[in-house]
């Protein structure tokens, strides 16, 4: 098992370096001179040259990439052009907000998605099934900014139950978490339902019934564990995606998380900050993948034993 985890971890490293390289090259070909962007257009050419030299902007791109990666290894992602502060500091400042939003919305997503999927599967092709699936389809289909605005209008502006924007207490996180959680609950519910229906057709379910188990026990003890394997993978990836910053939600609800600073970085062409946030997001998604793989191995004995044997 430890070897399996180590191997999966080692595979992740080249992926991360590859993403970083592509990102670096792409941002390098984006038009616009960083020094001009940073200091304004009406500035003496000599000063620009001096700054370029200080920031090593005239070095070959691979040399700069190497320098950047060495810095990144030490946790140094450069300095934001716009804010003139360490990128890593800015990310660490924003991350707790994103983490909070992620935890709350993942919770919403699971407590809606998993039971909805199970009920739909157990009562499939009935009105309950169709209503639940319609509800989850709505979650997936409604654009977050629209659902967010609608909720702000109803619950904040009209009813005055919740604050419109901000991040000061858990109350502020209710609407963004519901909007975000609902959108991923749809995927979780549909996946749970289809997997469970598929598993319920298996011979071992018939065996469980022939043993004399009640239908709820058959579903809960024999079908669910099998059906949840792919769902857990998706859930881990969703969490990783959310941790990378829920751009729309954070913008609509004014939460200064990773997504929000990424948007700000794009608006101000703040390359180091943008690069830092994207790289950070990538690392989180890769870690989520890794976590999903490890969890999968824990839950599915077929994979666990295969790994032990290899």
């Amino acid at each position: 098992m430890a070897r399996y985890i180590l191997r999966r971890f080692l595979i992740s490293i080249p992926v991360l370096v590859g993403v970083a390289l592509i990102l670096f090259l792409l941002l390098n070909v984006v038009p616009g001179d960083p020094v001009t962007l940073m200091m304004g257009e009406h500035i003496k050419p000599a000063l620009i040259e001096a700054f370029r030299a200080r920031m090593h902007l005239d070095d070959p791109v691979l040399v700069r990439f190497g320098r950047y990666m060495l810095g990144a290894l030490r946790g140094d992602f450069g300095v934001s052009y716009k804010l003139q502060r360490e990128v890593s500091g800015l990310i660490w400042q924003a991350f707790p907000h994103t983490v909070k939003l992620t935890i709350y919305s993942a919770f919403v997503s699971w407590i809606i998605g998993i039971p909805a999927g199970i009920f739909s599967a157990v009562k499939h092709n009935t009105l309950i099934d169709r209503s639940l699936m319609g509800f989850s389809l709505m979650g997936v289909s409604l654009p977050i900014f629209w659902a967010g605005l609608l909720m702000q209008y109803v619950f904040a502006s009209r009813l005055g139950w919740l604050p419109v924007t901000g991040y000061y207490s858990i109350k502020y996180y209710i609407m963004p978490s519901v909007v975000l959680g609902w959108s991923s609950a749809g995927t979780v519910a549909r996946l749970t339902r289809s997997n469970l229906l598929e598993i319920m057709k298996n011979d071992f379910i018939r065996t469980a019934r022939a043993k004399g188990l009640s239908e709820p026990s058959v579903v809960a003890c024999h079908a669910l564990k099998n059906a949840m394997l792919p769902v857990i993978t998706v859930m881990a990836l969703q969490v990783a995606g959310l941790l990378g910053g829920a751009v729309m939600t954070e913008s609509v609800f004014g939460i200064p998380g990773i997504g929000r600073i990424a948007v700000d970085a794009i608006t101000h062409r703040d390359m180091p900050l943008l690069q830092g946030t994207i790289l950070f997001t990538t690392a989180i998604v890769i870690a989520g993948n890794l976590a999903a793989d490890i969890m999968y191995a824990f839950l599915d004995p077929r994979i666990r034993v295969e790994q032990a044997n290899s």
Partner: protein, 326 residues
């Protein structure tokens, strides 16, 4: 012990009603192995699932009676029926590969039955599982408890299934083609094991198969089914020595004989009719070499050719009615 009387299980599909089991009567006496033989789709498995009330939609038991030790099973509340499944009547299936849950150890799956029906503690159930594994010939039973199904061979998995089925010492075990997915040597071992268990534990076995060889090897009594009906039933020696029904004769002739003349094997011409479009008259008539005009017009009853030997064929009408198994 088990008496199935005039059982009708139909499937209500969009294309019409399929009478998968049509007026079937089967009797399984205590301490006996009764074979139910027939081609795929003849209603053998549906009969077995009807006994356990596990026919899934769109199938439904329409009428008939299933008595277990005099107790009617049809219409029994599901809670009471669950106490019978796995306890008094157990079942093993054709595919040992897929009949066990892949995410649980085999020990746990066998123990589950005893915890459920016998109220055994986990430790007791595990001890008993080891005993059961030993009884069904699983080597190193203590070690095997912790194995997952995919770590075992097909033969071992079927032994696990048998251990699970026998765990609560049921009075009847239904075996639905238990050896079809296994190779010949393993098949012989499993059949031998079942015979031994029947002898040692006194459990009756309803053996569903399409293999006449298995029937000859194992069974005391045989029912031959075709398109949802019992065509012939008889004691094992009677059936092989005095085969009456043209369909049974066809089945027996289809078995390759080592001493026979080399050449094309015998086959019954035609195909099993669709249950949605059954022929008028005898269901076997379109394929029957001995069919007369009457066979295409009306359905024959079960005629008693000798005590305990019934045949559904007009050729034996002179023998008189009363060929029902009960």
């Amino acid at each position: 012990m088990l008496q199935i009387r005039n059982l009708k299980t139909h499937f209500f599909t969009r294309g019409g009603v399929a009478a998968a089991v049509d007026d079937v009567s089967i009797r399984i006496p205590p301490r006996s192995i009764v074979g139910v033989v027939g081609e795929s789709g003849c209603g053998k498995s549906v009969t077995a699932l009807s006994v356990l009330q596990l026919v899934s939609r769109p199938g439904k038991i329409v009428s008939g009676s299933i008595l277990l030790d005099g107790e009617e099973l049809i219409g029994k509340p599901s809670k009471q029926m669950r106490r019978i499944r796995g306890n008094k009547i157990s079942m093993i299936f054709q595919e040992p590969m897929t009949s066990l849950n892949p995410v649980y150890t085999v020990g746990r799956q066998v123990a589950e039955t005893m915890i459920l029906h016998r109220g055994a503690s986990k430790a007791e159930a595990m001890d008993r599982t080891v005993e059961m594994f030993r009884a069904v010939g699983i080597p190193a039973p203590e070690k095997r408890l912790k194995s997952f199904p995919h770590q075992l061979s097909g033969g071992l998995r079927q032994r696990v299934m048998i251990a699970m089925a026998m765990a609560c010492k049921p009075s009847l075990m239904i075996a639905d083609e238990p050896t079809t997915a296994l190779d010949v040597t393993i098949e012989a071992q499993i059949l031998h094991l079942m015979k031994e268990l029947e002898r040692d534990m006194g459990t009756s076995i309803m053996m569903i198969t399409h293999n006449m060889g298995v029937v000859a090897e194992l069974c005391d009594y045989v029912y031959v089914m075709y398109a949802g009906k019992v065509m012939e039933h008889a004691g094992i020696f009677d059936l092989f020595d005095h085969t009456k029904h043209p369909y049974t004769q066809g089945l027996l002739n289809s078995i390759p004989k080592p001493s026979g003349v080399r050449g094309r094997l015998f086959n019954i011409e035609g195909m099993v009719p669709s249950l949605l479009r059954l022929p008028k008259g005898c269901r076997f008539s379109p394929r029957c070499e001995q069919a007369v005009r009457e066979c295409f017009e009306s359905e024959p009853g079960l005629y008693a050719v000798s005590p305990g030997h019934g045949v559904r064929c007009f050729l034996y009408r002179d023998c008189g009615d009363g060929g029902e198994a009960i």
